[in-house]
């Protein structure tokens, strides 16, 4: 599902660098990415999504070598195949809950927004308990509710790969479990791969595999479901 070979990454400024000799994540796997702050967890997710490009090496997702694609092709691939949940939710405050969930269909001509998609969005909102807040502006939602909106937005395109960057980082235990349950349920039912960055070691038991960023210092890594 995800294959990374001989990857070298560094920012133009600063001395951060990331090297991944070999990393494989199988389809349907649930993987937690852990590591200290600044170890490159978010960068790794960005590389998997094709948001960031390595200096060297290859990243393949769903059998497509995204490092070989141009910017436009990578974005088209991403929106069709990858669901992203950001740590800070990154919702658009001027849109309602429903419009935020529908956002992927409004910002690319590659996807067509129709009645089926709207119903799917409403169904997702119902599953996470925010169906009664669809017309509300997101700034009027609680922290936990916003996170659920972000998760719904990531799942709307029914992606084969879910990349979540500390999706439960700022949530209380009840909301944390609720969001995680939802992500795991989706992964299980859709056979989607779930890669989640987390600091919470109590959650690691729920994941089939764990990637510790410390392991990328020298050793190759292989993760299987």
């Amino acid at each position: 599902m995800i294959r990374i070979n001989d990857l070298q990454f560094g920012y133009r400024e600063g001395d951060f660098s990331l090297r991944v000799a070999d990393l494989r994540i199988d389809k349907g796997a649930t993987v937690a990415v852990i590591g200290p702050s600044g170890s490159g967890k978010t960068t790794l997710l960005n590389l998997m999504a094709g948001i960031a490009l390595p200096r060297a090496g290859r990243v393949s997702t769903n059998g497509v070598e995204i490092t070989a694609l141009d910017d436009r092709a990578r974005r088209e691939f991403r929106i069709a195949n990858i669901g992203l949940v950001f740590q800070e939710f990154e919702l658009l405050e001027y849109l309602s809950v429903l419009d935020n969930i529908l956002l992927p269909y409004r910002i690319t001509p590659a996807l067509h927004l129709d009645r089926v998609v709207r119903e799917r969005a409403e169904d997702l909102a119902r599953q996470v308990g925010i169906a009664d807040k669809l017309v509300r502006l997101v700034k009027r939602l609680s922290h936990g509710e916003r996170q659920r909106v972000a998760v719904c937005r990531a799942l709307l395109t029914q992606p084969a790969l879910l990349l979540a960057d500390e999706p439960t980082g700022n949530l209380d235990p009840v909301n944390r479990d609720r969001v995680l349950d939802f992500l795991f349920d989706y992964s299980r039912s859709a056979g989607a791969t779930l890669v989640t960055v987390t600091h919470d070691r109590d959650l690691l038991g729920r994941f089939a595999s764990v990637i510790d960023m410390k392991s990328f210092q020298d050793l190759p890594e292989e993760v299987a479901s």
Binding site: A49, I79, Y94, P104
Partner: protein, 393 residues
């Protein structure tokens, strides 16, 4: 496209204060020069039309513009005064009909136009109610005056003192309204028409007072020398002309020496007009003759030159405002950088994100332009008369 417009609209609605300010800024940039053009164009057309319908104007030597504005629009300062003899001379020449005008006094803010009933025929004014003035002290109101003051035939209207501090000045005259003109959508709507002799009574050149031969007035008589009687201020002066005291009103001296502000000269034909003009070409002539159309054209040429400067200044200010608006958009892009990055991270098409941003700009521009067009339309319908009054006041 629908999604692009929807996203842009949601953003603009959410940021409604910023959007409103930008729309208003664009509206002003467009409206100010456009509205000014409309107003100046319409005012010019109205001024030109009335001036063009007035063939010749005779008045004392002095400012041609003041003479024309006073005689045609009743709204400028009083020009140098001519003598009524000028009207008599033109009439006697048989080259033109002479319609005297004396526009100097006001009643409740509206100009009192002393003239004769030929004026109504000349301007094609029609009575909507009542009758024309027939005797001293009667007046006919323009449509707007009657409406604004709530007057009708049978009402009365008092002339205003020319100077409230002139305690020795003439008394106000209470005039009787005999008729109201139908609207003509020009300066005549906002004037009070009286016989020219009534304006002379307002000025004090004609007056009515207690019969000095009556015993009641005896105490006021200071001396008698044949027909010459000297009396003091205890003799009752009439400030209203009624059927009872009408006969007591009289004028002293020769009408030919009485003041008028102008004579509207309506030549029998073009040739008569040229001949009449020729008679005033002499530098020693006591009066000037002018074609109001030419005076107004010269005036408008000056106004239009000023307009082009004003429009140029507006365009410069507008350009500055436009740059500021552009800067606001650019700064807003910086503030929205994270949002835009998110859209691209999710996989949004650059072209569509750019289209959303462009649509926001276009919507603001279109709303501003539509509002400006609407305002210009309103100005076209309502503004010219108001601005003309403002300019001439």
């Amino acid at each position: 496209m629908r999604d692009v417009v929807y996203m842009a609209w949601r953003y603009l609605v959410y940021n409604r204060v910023k959007t409103t300010i930008l729309v208003l800024a664009i509206m002003l940039i467009v409206y100010l020069p456009a509205g000014l053009n409309v107003l100046v164009g319409q005012s010019a057309a109205r001024l030109t039309a009335r001036a063009g319908a007035t063939p010749l104007l005779v008045g004392a030597k002095g400012s041609a513009v003041e003479l024309t504005l006073n005689s045609l629009y009743f709204d400028s300062g009083t020009p140098e005064l001519a003598r009524y003899r000028e009207a008599e001379r033109i009439a006697e020449s048989r080259l033109a009909d002479a319609i005297p005008l004396y526009v100097r006094y006001r009643a409740r803010g509206y100009p009192i136009v002393g003239t004769n009933i030929d004026y109504f025929d000349f301007r094609r004014l029609r009575l909507a109610a009542g009758r024309s003035m027939a005797v001293l002290g009667e007046c006919v109101l323009g449509a707007a005056v009657a409406k604004d003051l709530g007057l009708e035939p049978g009402s009365s209207l008092v002339s205003s003192p020319e100077n409230v501090f002139d305690l020795a000045g003439v008394y106000p005259l209470k005039m009787h309204v005999t008729g109201v003109l139908a609207p003509s959508f020009g300066p005549d709507d906002r004037a009070v028409f009286v016989d020219i002799k009534t304006t002379w009574i307002i000025e004090g050149l004609g007056h009515g007072h207690q019969d000095l031969d009556e015993p009641a007035a005896a105490s006021g008589v200071l001396s008698r020398d044949g027909r010459r009687i000297t009396a003091n201020a205890s003799v009752v002066q009439y400030n209203e002309i009624t059927a009872e005291n009408l006969d007591s009103f009289h004028f002293h001296g020769d009408f030919g020496d009485y003041p008028i502000s102008a004579v509207l000269a309506v030549p029998r034909d073009d040739r008569a007009g040229v001949i009449l003009q020729g008679r005033y070409e002499n530098a020693d002539a006591p009066a000037q003759i002018l074609r109001p159309g030419i005076v107004i054209d010269d005036l408008l040429a000056t106004v239009l030159t000023i307009r082009s400067f004003v429009v140029a200044a507006m365009l410069i200010v507008g350009s500055g405002t436009l740059v500021t608006v552009a800067l606001v958009f650019l700064l807003s892009l910086r503030l929205r950088r994270r949002e835009l990055e998110t859209l691209l991270k999710i996989g949004g098409a650059r072209s569509r994100v750019a289209a959303v941003l462009c649509t926001e700009v276009v919507v603001v521009l279109v709303l501003g332009a539509v509002l400006a067009a609407g305002l210009t339309g309103v100005t076209r319908r309502l503004g010219a008369e108001a601005i003309q009054r403002f300019i001439l006041s």
